[in-house]
């Protein structure tokens, strides 16, 4: 099956600022991808290029096998829900949804109506009178009800409370199960969505640092704590993400995976092993180096 998205060596420069630096990946059909990374990592820039709202300085992007930029045939099947989407101020919620129904060929009106009820969105209220959370809910409803073959959500939850976010995840999962399609979800709330992601992309300062199945990432990184000599022996040449030290005790997080024999030995030697959540892993991979590590570098 040909990929829904394929990006090859995508680079975006704004003057001397490099927003995306040689990003290469593909997105398969009917899967939920997480696009993760810090603010300014290039997530929105990448999504804009994928949806034809911007173009790459260099490299090649294909969506459904064609270049998306100014390509109506491709874009009709793409829905991009942005963090701060501007819907016309004077339109009501109902007008906005009606306009969306004209834009998206697979629009499900019944589904949209039930979502409006669930998110308790006032149908007759004008867009300019909506609260931040209501605006986000409107975007989420359009993203879900569009049933576009490729749907991108760029941090769609601003102003949504925990209940509304859970509703969004539940609706997304249920509707995706019944109507499989490709979803790319950019978010900072990794712990909240980690379990529904199938594949994870992590951007760090414009570079793609992780392109991996979520199930492989889960349980790969591990934190070992114990006497420094024993821990160092166990981790061998595994790549270190973080090291903290107190006296002769260290706590080291490694990307892993730790071999089963090393795990057994760790237990026997009384070294504690803690799993690293997806969110912690992303923090380690995209965060500042630890004081210890930076000392190593400058030496």
């Amino acid at each position: 099956m040909s990929p829904v998205v394929s990006a090859r060596n995508v680079t975006k420069r704004y003057g001397s600022m490099v927003a995306l630096d040689g990003v290469t990946f593909s997105v398969r059909e009917n899967a939920i991808y997480g696009l993760l990374g810090r603010n300014g990592a290039g997530k929105t820039t990448l999504m804009r290029i994928l949806t034809g709202q911007g173009f790459a300085t260099d490299g090649d992007v294909q969506v459904f096998g064609a270049a998306p930029y100014e390509n109506d045939a491709v874009l009709a099947d793409v829905c991009f829900v942005k963090e701060s989407h501007r819907y016309p101020d004077s339109h009501t919620v109902a007008n906005t949804l009606e306009a969306a129904s004209w834009l998206f060929p697979s629009w499900d009106e019944k589904f949209a109506e039930s979502l409006v009820d669930d998110f308790r969105l006032p149908r007759k209220r004008r867009v300019k009178k909506l609260s931040r959370g209501e605006l986000s809910a409107l975007g989420v409803i359009i993203g879900l009800a569009s049933r576009a073959r490729l749907t991108l959500f760029d941090e769609p939850y601003l102003g949504l409370d925990a209940v509304a976010r859970q509703q969004f995840y539940d609706h997304l999962l249920r509707d995706y199960t019944e109507h499989p399609r490709t979803v790319i979800l950019s978010t900072h709330l990794i712990d909240e969505v980690g379990d529904i992601l199938e594949h994870v992309l992590v951007l760090d300062r414009g570079r793609l640092v992780v392109d991996e199945e979520a199930e492989i990432l889960r349980g790969q990184a591990v934190t070992l704590s114990g006497p420094v000599e024993t821990v160092d022996e166990l981790i061998g040449s595994l790549s270190e993400l973080r090291r903290d030290r107190i006296g002769r005790q260290v706590r080291v997080t490694v990307r892993g995976p730790l071999e089963p024999t090393a795990r057994t030995r760790a237990e026997a030697l009384g070294i504690s092993l803690e799993p690293v959540s997806l969110q912690q892993l992303v923090v380690h991979l995209t965060g500042a180096p630890t004081p210890d590590a930076s000392k190593e570098l400058s030496r």
Binding site: I196, G219, V276
Partner: protein
């Protein structure tokens, strides 16, 4: 779901546990992958992976167009496997801790006997 372990493994283990404790009888229908996904709030592909592992192991079988069912003999098979894993999963960590505290295996055995009598 626990952090740090593949979710599909946890799904497979939970179904295994239900078979071992009898909640899921042999020849009973197992929840569909979509039901599992909705219940555990996980990706349906992940749920399917857990179920398929049990199909590969012969613990579950598929009836085309109907669903997944527990194979007959699955419970006995799982009990044998779990018993084989018992010393690795439970005895080893216990004896490691005992060793750290200076308790000999004989002393641990006495403690187990005493615990059994007091229950």
């Amino acid at each position: 779901m626990d952090e740090g372990r593949p979710i599909f493994q946890q799904i497979a283990e939970q179904i295994e546990n239900s078979i071992i404790d009898g909640t899921l009888a042999e020849e009973a229908q197992v929840p569909s992958t979509n039901e599992l996904a909705a219940f555990h709030r996980i990706n349906p592909a992940t749920a399917a992976k857990g179920v398929n592992q049990l199909v590969d192991d012969g613990i579950l079988y598929k009836k085309r167009g109907i669903g997944m069912f527990v194979s007959s003999g699955a419970r006995a098979k799982l009990r044998v496997r779990r018993r084989e894993q018992f010393s690795d999963q439970f005895l080893r960590p216990m004896l490691t801790e005992a060793n750290k505290l200076g308790l000999s295996p004989a002393e641990v055995k006495d403690m187990i006997d005493a615990w059994g009598q007091n229950r």
